[in-house]
């Protein structure tokens, strides 16, 4: 097994910071590169790393930092060196190609984004500040702000995130249960859920047993002695080692629209809301019950409480999708041992080449939706944050191939019902959700889109060493 240099890895990749109830991701603009680098260098010892912390020793605050191409450039990394980053990162989320691939069209078009879009200032840096509660987080943030403002960095936009009771998201479902275990991270889990470090951390071998594409220094600048040699490109220094790519997507949720749809499709004969059936339809689309309990183990009813059950597979318990439909969000996003027509063993191998570490934070009114409680005050949604070492094979693959593309398994026109539905389909374009049934399948036609993308960007999430290197430019 490869040993990961945990002390050099920024902590958010490996740790969800579960006790951090409040976070502020602040987008920063560099006005004075020299002063900014001085300040960033000075906070390197405050940056939370990935070493394992005992439960009773968890800190009250955490701090991490990530860089967009524009930020690296503002801090002095030469264009030749920025060119060594992976194409999606360099090109950004808003090119015509990526927009169509990710489904960011209609209301979700980057033309309409609040940040990171075509009409917004280019994103440069994001400082990730966490606290055990709102007051702690903001107090910490303000102390940092006093410092960075006097060092040529300007706050451009704050993305404040929180966690809700039982880790539920606004539609009402317990979230973030299934995370891959990284071999060598100190955490241990079932083999079928474990991946090689190179799936998430650059500089280590991935699930193909090769080193992922990692940025290097093409044209020497700064303190080159800080960086390790590249394992992939002889004679070059590795800027990516112990780093990752961090993706933020602001996803607004139409909680009322979501539950109205479920309620309308399941009404009693007298027109009243059938709460049980409405919840069931929503759960079939999501792939777990509101409690988090998996459908393949509890096909008919939510056992209630909260569930962290993740040690389950599909091939044996639910090969035909009769319990957890093939088209449900979670079965698509992680098909486990039931991928297309492959054997369970091969399925697991393939599924694990497309995993994400998700770090969603919620925003807006603290509503947890149900069939009858679904009218939030103001906009609500989540910051879908995630890590991947290969944006194209992991994040973009999940969003396009397994979500927007409607033809997984033997389905014909079934996009992911939660994140893949097109708002304004073409004339004649069918969008449905199929529930496999006995003797016949049942389809929900004319799906509606319940989420709107409001912002997003790809970031480089460097090692602490690489942060120091960037500050040496």
């Amino acid at each position: 097994m490869q040993t990961i240099e945990l002390k050099d890895v920024q902590g958010y990749i490996f740790r969800a910071y579960g006790n951090m109830k409040y976070s502020r991701f602040t987008l920063l603009k560099v006005n004075n590169p020299k002063a900014a680098k001085k300040w960033i260098n000075s906070i390197c010892n405050q940056i939370t790393n990935a070493s394992i912390v005992a439960k009773d020793e968890l800190p009250d605050t955490c701090l991490n930092i990530a860089f967009a191409p524009n930020g690296l450039s503002a801090l002095g990394l030469s264009q030749e060196n920025i060119n060594t980053f992976s194409p999606p990162f360099k090109e950004g989320m808003t090119t015509v190609h990526r927009t169509s691939l990710l489904g960011d069209i209609d209301s979700s078009s980057p033309e309409n984004w609040l940040w990171g879009g075509l009409k917004n200032e280019p994103v440069q840096l994001v400082l990730l500040v966490f606290g055990k509660d709102e007051a702690t987080c903001l107090a910490y943030y303000n102390s940092l702000k006093d410092e960075f403002e006097s060092h040529g960095l300007e706050e451009y936009r704050n993305l404040d995130g929180l966690t809700l009771k039982d880790n539920k998201e606004h539609f009402g479902f317990r979230d973030g249960i299934a995370q891959p275990i990284i071999k060598g991270s100190g955490r241990i889990g079932p083999e079928h859920n474990s991946v090689n470090p190179g799936e998430f951390v650059l500089g280590y071998k991935n699930n193909y047993k090769v080193y992922p594409d990692s940025p290097t220094i093409e044209k020497p600048q700064g303190n080159m002695n800080l960086l390790p040699p590249s394992p992939l490109k002889t004679g070059k220094k590795d800027l990516g080692k112990n780093g990752s790519y961090f993706i933020i997507r602001q996803m607004q949720q139409d909680v009322e629209g979501f539950w109205n749809f479920m309620n309308d499709r399941t009404r009693n004969a007298d027109g009243s809301i059938n709460e049980a059936e409405s919840t069931k339809l929503a759960s079939k689309m999501v792939g777990r019950w509101p409690s988090g309990a998996p459908l393949s183990k509890f096909p008919d009813k939510d056992p209630g409480g909260t569930s962290d059950e993740n040690d389950f597979l599909y091939a044996k318990d639910d090969p035909k999708g009769l319990k957890c439909p093939f088209g449900s969000h979670l079965r698509r996003m992680n098909p486990r041992d039931s991928f297309e027509t492959d054997t369970p063993k091969k399925s697991l191998l393939l599924s694990n080449r497309h995993r994400l570490i998700r770090r969603a934070r919620l925003y807006g009114d603290q509503i947890i939706g149900t069939p009858t409680n679904n009218k939030p005050k103001g906009d609500v949604g989540l910051y879908f944050n995630c890590f991947s070492a290969d944006i194209s094979r992991q994040f973009e693959f999940l969003q396009y191939t397994w979500s927007n593309y409607p033809k997984i398994k033997q389905l014909y026109s079934d996009p992911d019902p939660i994140i893949g539905v097109v708002e304004n389909p073409k004339k004649g374009q069918e969008q449905q959700f199929t529930q496999q049934g006995d003797p016949i399948n049942k389809t929900e036609k004319n799906l509606k889109r319940f989420i709107t993308i409001k912002g997003g960007a790809y970031f480089f999430f460097p090692s602490i060493t690489s942060i120091r290197y960037i500050c040496s430019l």
């Binding site: 190609h97 992922p212 593309y405 033809k407």
Partner: protein, 444 residues
């Protein structure tokens, strides 16, 4: 049963007509994007076609070439090759074919342009495929469409009528009664059975390979030690690739189009409402150079012979070595055995497709492409290479070409859909017990 066949034409372009040719192709692309598919619908037998320009030194793809520009045409159709050439030469839009090929050297002058002279020209530039794969063998375009109509009809029936309390067998019988009375489903009166693996021939092939094994092993050792270890290998990663090249390829993937039309042309041709949803199908065109020497050529040809023999015996159910997303694929050795073209029509995105190649059939690709220049380093012909994920992905992108025109007759059907529809048709037209009827309804 229908025979699906490939045609490949490589025609030299008159240098002075290159710009005009791009314009013709660009206009045609624009018309296709607007949905004017009737251009290629006339004969109701073309599944796919594409045109691309190679060896144009003014593009980022060929800036070091000393060769003269050529136009490549590739199609997949029902019936005999000669009949298809006759279609191209006479029944299809003359104006279009003439407009395109008048930019090529040796095409008959306007006054001499007749179906016959056109056909002579095409036959002269025809190149035989080295290996060819079809995802739905035996099915004509007409059959593919009729089977999709049947499936849509059945799905609608299941969605809109009350089947409560009926068993699968009863539902099947009732539906059958209704389709029997419906003239639109006359295909149900014709018997069809799905292609099957030919285990006898497969066993024979295995025996032949076993008999040849000593020779194969010696050969592989020669290739490995006398050639592969001395060759130059591909060592770039995706981040090393020319950004302009990637941008052009990605734009062609989007099918959105009109992008390569100038503003002026757009206003002449009218406003095109851009559909930014990526297409469900895509194409891949790749051009690589053979490594020099007879040993490499023999190895390549042997791999092609192996593929050519194995494919119709074993890969007849919609999966090529486990890849379930390919409608058609072909390898074409041309240019005096100096270069290889690879074309495919596939479902989903580039990343998925190339990933499938590594995940499912890395050794097959490696065996073929290790004989072409600057492929990622292979070991003993069949390992390394495509299994070297990062380098293989970068190599694939680097050797890919933009396709100026690409047409699919059924862009909203995946190859899995096509085969599933045939299976529905076969099962549906039988007399089924309840268990079999349940199997049928799992497919719909």
């Amino acid at each position: 049963m229908s025979q699906q066949n490939p045609l490949t034409l490589v025609t030299p372009i008159k240098p002075e007509k290159l710009a005009a040719l791009y314009k013709v192709l660009s206009n045609m692309k624009y018309r296709l994007e607007k949905g004017e598919h009737e251009l290629f619908e006339k004969n109701n037998n073309i599944h796919y076609l594409r045109w691309l320009v190679i060896d144009d030194k003014n593009t980022v793809f060929f800036n070091e070439t000393k060769r003269n520009p050529k136009l490549v045409f590739s199609s997949n159709f029902d019936g005999k090759v000669l009949a298809h050439i006759t279609d191209l030469s006479s029944d299809m839009d003359h104006q279009l074919i003439d407009e395109i090929y008048s930019c090529c050297i040796g095409y008959p002058e306007p006054k001499d342009c007749t179906p016959k002279t056109r056909a002579v020209f095409f036959k002269k530039h025809m190149i035989k495929v080295s290996a060819f794969y079809k995802g739905s063998p035996g099915r004509s375009l007409k059959q593919i469409r009729e089977e999709q109509d049947l499936r849509m009809y059945l799905r609608k029936k299941l969605d809109t009528e009350n089947w409560k309390g009926l068993t699968a067998q009863q539902i099947h019988q009732q539906l059958k009664k209704e389709t029997r009375a419906n003239a639109a489903f006359s295909i149900l009166n014709t018997k069809y059975s799905m292609p099957k693996t030919n285990w006898f021939k497969f066993a024979l092939l295995v025996i032949v390979l076993l008999a040849l094994l000593p020779l194969i092993i010696v050969w592989i050792l020669i290739v490995e030690f006398a050639y592969e270890r001395k060759d130059q290998h591909y060592t770039k990663t995706r981040s090393d690739l020319n950004a302009d090249k990637i941008k052009i390829l990605e734009e062609y993937e989007d099918l959105t189009s009109g992008e390569d039309l100038s503003k002026e042309e757009q206003s002449v041709a009218g406003v095109l409402v851009k559909d930014k949803v990526i297409n469900y199908q895509n194409q891949f065109s790749q051009l690589v150079e053979m490594k020099e020497g007879t040993v490499r050529l023999i190895t390549f040809k042997a791999m092609m012979l192996f593929a050519k023999t194995l494919i119709p015996i074993k890969f007849v159910k919609g999966e090529l070595m486990g890849i379930p997303t390919i409608h058609f694929a072909r390898w074409v050795l041309f240019d005096d055995n100096k270069r290889v073209l690879f074309f495919s029509n596939f479902d989903g995105s580039w990343q998925q497709y190339l990933g499938d190649f590594i995940d499912q059939s890395g050794w097959g690709l490696t065996g073929i492409f290790s004989n072409t220049k600057v492929f990622p380093k292979t070991r003993f012909l069949l390992t390394g290479g495509a299994y070297d994920e990062e380098h293989f992905l970068a190599w694939s992108r680097d050797s890919e070409l933009p396709t100026q025109i690409w047409y699919s007759a059924y862009p909203s059907l995946s190859i899995k859909n096509v085969n599933n529809n045939s299976q529905i048709r076969v099962l549906f037209s039988k007399n089924l017990n309840n268990k079999k009827a349940k199997k049928l309804f799992e497919l719909i």
